[in-house]
Amino acid sequence: MQELVLIQPGRTAETDLQRGATEAALRREFEERLAECGPLAFRVARGVLRNTADAEDVAQDAILRAYRRFDKLRDRGRFKAWLVRITFRLALDRAKSFNRRQHRETLWSQPERKPAPSTAEDLAVANQFRSRLDRAVDQLPEKQRLVLLLSAIEGHSLEEVATLLNIPMGTVKSRLFFARKQLAEKLR
């Protein structure tokens, strides 16, 4: 006797349609947020890495990671902070691996120090100041560094930084104060 199996093809198609519609809506929502938050992710990465190409790579990676887990994000209003945190972590990891690689290469090759450009003294001073500032920023604790970076990006106010990082306003002020104080001490 032939065995019969009960199936519901109409229900399967309906489920597929619902899933497709959900995914399309999710993607549309993400792309809307991407237009708003994409530049911020790039700038966070650029602030850490100080290299446009690396920052682009890291920001793209962070956005893709956020997209893959976007449906698991409960509070969509926290997307910006979430993306900033992902980008910052990825950029720090990239910077650390770059520093390690550079350190190895330096140990092997021992390159000569590049002389400062003598033609434009102001430019040399500015470059020197920038490099000193970069080193000082790199030595800051991560929390202070992120607050300093976000307050410098796009003219964020302290309140916006507090909202982005989901921390109290007093904490933002405190971290920013200690960061600026340390930078000034090292550059003074």
Binding site: P39, L64, L187
Partner: protein
């Protein structure tokens, strides 16, 4: 001492980015040293902020967002679905699976087509001819045990691991070890041999005495006939008629 206190306070105020309180402001207006330190600290922090802002607010490459959108397109579930439904990806896998299943099925069919020793043993027990043969003369039974020991699995086990006693036949059955490449042919030969001998065994079987008791048919009782000549008989009949009259 007083200047040091105000100088420290002025640096902290500068780092905070706030305006000095009236007491500090009065001291800064009175003390040029503290005022210059405060101004230089504010200038330094201003430079730091400017440098950080210029570095952090660099121009975004025009290709950044389009590239990200293109990558999102590739990452979208729809694109993943297209990859899954692409026949170039899953057809080779299905073909390989089908070939493997076909090979396994053909091997399984070949093994099933060869009766094992247990099947032969069962046949031997269930067959009335074999039963009769066994009961009559056990020494004549030779075909079934031969088939039993050339079953594929037992033969291979007996060849590779003889210490595991793989053949489960009676102690009186002969055991034959054959090479793996000849076991199939030998099994077929033994099967045909057994089938051919079933008919001859039937004829050769001695029937047990209890099954072949002679029929006891009673003898027919026939009275003796008296034979008389026909002429005398007719005369007697006539005499009898006269007596009756």
């Amino acid at each position: 001492m007083i200047c040091n206190h105000y100088k420290q306070a002025s640096l902290e105020v500068a780092a905070r980015g706030a305006e000095p309180d009236p007491q500090l402001l009065a001291h800064l207006q009175a003390c040029s040293s503290c005022r210059s330190a405060f101004e230089s600290e504010r200038s330094l922090l201003g430079s730091i902020d400017a440098c950080l802002r210029s570095s952090a607010n660099s121009e975004i490459p025009s290709s950044f967002i389009p590239t990200v959108r293109a990558q999102l397109q590739q990452e979208s579930p729809a694109a993943q679905g297209e990859r899954i439904t692409n026949p170039l990806l899953w057809l080779p896998a299905i073909a390989a699976t089908a070939i493997i299943l076909f090979i396994f099925a053909s091997q399984d069919r070949r093994v099933k087509s060869q009766p094992t020793d247990e099947q032969f043993a069962t046949k031997r027990i269930e067959s009335p001819v074999a039963t009769a043969t066994t009961a009559a003369s056990p020494s004549q039974v030779t075909t079934a045990p031969i088939s039993a020991v050339v079953g594929k699995r037992f033969a291979s086990k007996a060849t590779i691991k003889p210490d595991k006693k793989p053949v489960r036949v009676s102690g009186s059955d002969p055991e034959i070890l054959v090479p793996p490449d000849q076991e199939i042919l030998l099994a077929r030969y033994a099967d045909q041999f057994r089938q051919h001998h079933q008919s001859s065994a039937t004829l050769l079987t001695e029937v047990a005495p209890d099954q072949t008791a002679q029929l006891q048919v009673p003898l027919i009782q026939i009275a003796e006939l008296e034979v008389k000549p026909l002429a005398d008989t007719q005369r007697d009949v006539q005499q009898n008629d006269l007596h009756e009259k």
